[in-house]
């Protein structure tokens, strides 16, 4: 599989665009007209060829630009990558998991040679060839978790399991929707998910935690989460709010299709072998309302979900201000005819 990587930006002139093929494989999260918060966890052990679920870590045409954007964010704020000292085994676990997966799933782009502990990693899209000793952090240019997540799309949190809870003790967070790593390092699973409205009432986190504590090696799981973002921006952390917050006021009826983006996170959880920790990967997909509206099923369904979304969830997702404008634009594409269940585009 040969991916053509786009030269584009996630800030400034926002030249990010999706090709037709990328829109087609977008993980549209609404299978029904009504959206309700739920944990909806399923196995993450492969999916249809070409889909975002096919491999453990999905690489697409935005790979190079996303790595570049992460480097810019880290340059400005190195605190977006944090790892507490007791997480070193988990760091190597993550490096091993990502390197072996990418080399196996995308042999045209990545390569890994292992001779005992002497490893050589090849990353063709970023032009990297690195020989190192597995387990010896001094042989890499930066710590193992930072090293490999600088070369992977998506954000990552590693959780340590102790005292019957999961603790977010390491993270690489440069494209998080509405929370930030500095805020969350060392937090327990429940504290960390605390702000989600309604979820506590229905006990989903108690159940999710119980489930995750028993997550087994080789049995990763996934779920989708979504929000909306004005402009295709990855770095919408609270720290940089002044840079992107005001954009919410810039939405007008004529610029809805280009400016307003549905932001879907493919969240996956993996048990880590050496550390007994859990890796939480958050892979972000952005599609403009205009992209999605190419498929009538998606246009109608997005309209209905947004229209009926309870106010507290709309507030939590930060879309109160421009929701009416988006709805007005989408309503013209919704004839009210029933849309068959399912997330597929056509």
């Amino acid at each position: 599989m040969n991916i053509r990587f786009r030269d584009e930006t996630f800030r400034g002139d926002y030249s990010y665009r999706n090709s037709d093929a990328t829109v087609r494989r977008f993980p549209f999260p609404f299978g029904l007209d009504e959206y309700m918060y739920s944990v909806n966890i399923e196995r993450h052990n492969g999916g249809p060829a070409g889909s975002v679920y096919e491999f453990a870590f999905d690489i697409d045409e935005h790979y190079v630009a996303e790595c570049r954007d992460r480097a810019i964010t880290l340059e400005r704020d190195p605190g977006r990558c944090v790892s507490l000292p007791h997480m070193i085994d988990a760091e190597w676990d993550v490096l091993e998991l990502i390197m072996t997966s990418l080399a196996h799933d995308y042999p045209d782009h990545f390569g890994l040679q292992c001779d005992g502990a002497r490893w050589t990693w090849t990353n063709r899209p970023l032009g990297i060839e690195q020989a190192f000793v597995f387990g010896d952090a001094a042989t890499l240019p930066c710590p193992p978790f930072e090293y490999i997540t600088r070369q992977t799309q998506g954000d990552f949190v590693i959780m340590d399991q102790r005292d019957g809870d999961l603790w977010a003790d390491a993270g690489m967070i440069t494209s998080q929707a509405d929370w930030s790593m500095s805020f969350d390092t060392g937090m327990s699973f429940k504290e960390w998910h605390g702000p989600v409205p309604r979820a506590h009432e229905i006990g989903v986190f108690d159940r999710a935690l119980k489930y995750l504590l028993m997550l087994q090696l080789g049995q990763p799981v996934r779920r989708l989460n979504w929000t909306m973002t004005v402009n295709p921006r990855l770095d919408t952390a609270p720290e940089t709010y002044p840079e992107w917050g005001p954009d919410r006021a810039s939405v007008r009826l004529d610029n809805v299709p280009d400016k307003v983006h549905l932001r879907v996170e493919l969240q996956a959880l993996f048990r880590l072998p050496r550390s007994n920790g859990v890796l939480f990967s958050i892979r972000c997909y952005l599609a403009s309302v205009g992209d999605l509206a190419r498929y009538p099923r998606w246009a109608k369904r997005l309209h209905r979900v947004l229209r009926d979304l309870p106010q507290d969830l709309a507030e939590y997702k930060g879309l109160v201000r421009y929701r009416p404008t988006v709805l007005e634009w989408l309503s013209r594409l919704d004839d009210g005819a029933p849309v068959a269940p399912g997330t597929h585009p056509e």
Partner: protein, 318 residues
Amino acid sequence: MRPVIEMTIARTLDVAPGIREFWLKAADGSALPAYSGGSHIVLGLPLPGGLQRNPYSLVGDPADASKWRIAVRRQEGSRGGSAWLHDTAAEGMRLQVAVPANLFPMARLARHHVLIAGGIGITPILSHAREMARLGLSFEVHYAYRARAFAALADEVGAIAGDRLRRYDQSDGEKVDFEALLAGRPLGTHAYLCGPQPMVEAFHAIGTRLGWPGDRLHSERFVAPPPGDAFSVRLARSGLRVEVPPHRSMLEAIEAAGVSAPFMCRGGACGQCELEVLEADSALQHNDLYLSAEVRAGGRRIMPCVSRACGGCITVDL
């Protein structure tokens, strides 16, 4: 379900009277996944009455991707799994092995670790000591055994722990004094024990009396499925009726009928196998460490890996 690897018995060694060590390799020669100290695997043993799945702690070096090591004590009067491993298992045989899981992990933020083993309980303790030594953590090991001849793996623990190992030879009247061992420990110390049930109970009772918080006292808590009366299980979703003989667990009998059911520890500790009981015409015999007294009293839940019914027939939601 836990992923399963087809493995070959690459080596057997008698390391002490009644204790046998096994080296397992992937049947296709591929590299094995790493694991954390305290992890166990589950061996599928082809017994005459059907497959028996037993958990065993890994004792080897997790960095060695070529083999997994376990040490098995012959359990007299047991359901035959350990006897099979001692009498019948031979180099070259193939076994189905469920990948490692850890129900006895180390607390990575502890300032000091006190590791205590009684008898064959040395297996997860050895693997913890190895990991702690590798990570440069502060730890000590206490190993109690019946007599010197039974001190399996003692040399290996000694090589790792050096003068941080203290041995207790019961034939010389030595025993672990939990009062002395647990008293006056600085905050941030964690203690871990794997050994016979009376030792586990003394450890928790004395630790608690000395003011140790429960989350700093760790014990490997596995039970082997005790035998009981024969009974039958009706699986509500398929309508299948499964007979459970006295010496098989309910989970094994369900699996032997070709139905896959969830499990992890197979020792009544993890909670993965929990089933809802829809109907029962006899009492339930709970042998697990998982369900609370309250839930047991409700009579609607059972852990089929170790628990059973006292005759008759029960219907479960599976």
